[in-house]
Amino acid sequence: MARYIVRRMLWSVLLLILVSAVVFILFYVFPSADPAQLRAGRQANEDQIQAIRESLGLDHSVLTQFWIYIKGVFTPLDLPGTDAHGPLYFGRSYQSNADVFDVIKADLPATVMLVIGAVVIWLAIAIPVGIISAIKSRSLLDRTTMITTLAFISAPVFWLGLVALYLFAQDVGLIPIFPGIGSYAEADSFAGKVGSMLLPWFVLAAATAAIYARYLRSQMIDVMGEDYIRTARAKGLPEKRVIMKHALRSAITPIVTLLGLDVAVLLAGNAILTETVFNIPGVGAETYNAIKRSDLPMIQGITLFGAFFIVTLNLVVDIAYAYLDPRVRYE
């Protein structure tokens, strides 16, 4: 097992280097504004732009730039033209000159809080709904919940967010009970931040909760037809134990895989719409700004972070799976 994990981690590093290379190539191959020109502003002359280009290291060849970048991220070697060095040096923003790592570190808490809260809510909704729908399969209750979930899956997050604000936000809502746009940045206590997250949590959780509920329902229905469920009943186990222990144990295992990836993708900045609608200063919002300004180091940094979350959580999921399903064994 230990060997397996070490091997997976080495592969992960290689994968991350590959991801940076792809971002580099995309950035240079596809047309985008010249970062030096953007930084210099409208009035700048050619010399000023050239000076900025040199200070940003853009005068080097793409290959050299890439090498410097990789050196900064993965090694403690000195970097030419700066006093900074790695590891985990992702360069400085073209726009604000801030250290990319610091910016991401500052953005993460909001995103992490948003994602964790949403995960708790979507699991808390999806698991009971999925189980009950499966047991009462084809009943009126089941049909009603399944249609409701379909509605939530179909509703785009930005639309759902706006509707939620229109209905419940304290400033503009019809029933003003929850803090609205921008309240996260304004809140100065943890309790205040939690309050400000309530609407975004539900909005972000809605579609996923619906997907998970449907998925768990179909898993449960499949599992309830398995021979070992019949055996559990034939043993004389109470039905509650058959469902909650024997059936749920099998049905929930694939959910773990799904959950790992969904959390990773959200941490990687996929909560961008929710963060934008509610004006939450998280990784998603930062991504949006960085793309708008052709800020390669920021884009690069956030992408790498995202890739890192995905790769790491994938590994965690695989290890967890080996514990959950004894038939899966790694050597």
Binding site: E226, D227, Y228, R230, T231, A232, R233, A234, K235, G236, L237, P238, E239, H246, R249, S250, T253, L324, D325, P326, R327
Partner: protein, 345 residues
Amino acid sequence: MSGEPLIRVEDLKVHFDTDDGIVKAVDGVSFSVSRGEMLGIVGESGSGKSVANMTILGLTRAPNALISGRIEFDGKNLVDLDEEGMREIRGSQISMIFQDPLSSLHPFFKVGKQLVEAIQVHQDLDDDAAMARAVELLGLVGIPDPERRVGEYPHEFSGGMRQRAMIAMALTNDPKLLIADEPTTALDVTTQAQILRLIERLRQEFGMAVIMITHDLGVIAEVADRVQVMYAGQVVESGSLEEIFYNPQHPYTWGLLGSLTRIDKPRRARLSQIAGQPPSLIALPAGCHFRNRCPHAFDRCTQMPPLEERIPERGHTDRCWLPPEQKKTLRMSSAGEIGLEEPAA
């Protein structure tokens, strides 16, 4: 094999209301089993043999299931017994083992744990005592090194070992009746024989009654005292092992016997087969359900023959209008051999 029957099933009907119509899975089945007796129930897939026996344990109860008739066991009618009463009987007084032991054991729980669970649901034992009992049971069914084996998962067991573990699980609470639903079908031939011998040995040791459900007459021939042949949700013939094998009365039984391979006879060019398909349980033919596939059908077969004794004094009942004397000549497909006619080449 004498005295008051342990379980008596009377006119059991299990129908399922589906979108396509009423499925008459079991349609008026009666039988009884005495203490220590082994009843063999034979029939092809869909003949209702499994459904009838799962109904004994209340495992077919579903919102769309229409169950009627009586199942008398231990002074109770199991058809009317509430879920909690049924649960107390399952796995303690009546146990069941199934066809595919790999899919019948939970893949995520250790074998020992699954046994402990079966023990603790009916007995007030702590974990250590229950585990000790689990080890003892695995040893009893012939699993070598049971102390180590309790800590393994089902996928680490071989097919025969898994079925042994299933049997151990069924024995945890010394049941009076064991229902074995095709226990050897998923196993290779040598393992089949071992499992049958094990069930036979345990029956003798514990004096429990066994209902052996199978489509394989070879299995029945080895272990059963009495045999019941089912077709399309009904019993078509019932009698002692001897009677069914040497004096079969129903053309369907002839077909089953004729399709056996035999090592005591020269091999025929082709094994005979029963023509056609079993009827749909939703739209059963009027009269005898077998008549569409029966080469000996005549006018009277449009009426359903009752299950009754047609040769006196032999405890042998069947559902066929043909006179017994005529059957004697009809059932010989070639000299000394029982079966339907050879299929047209």
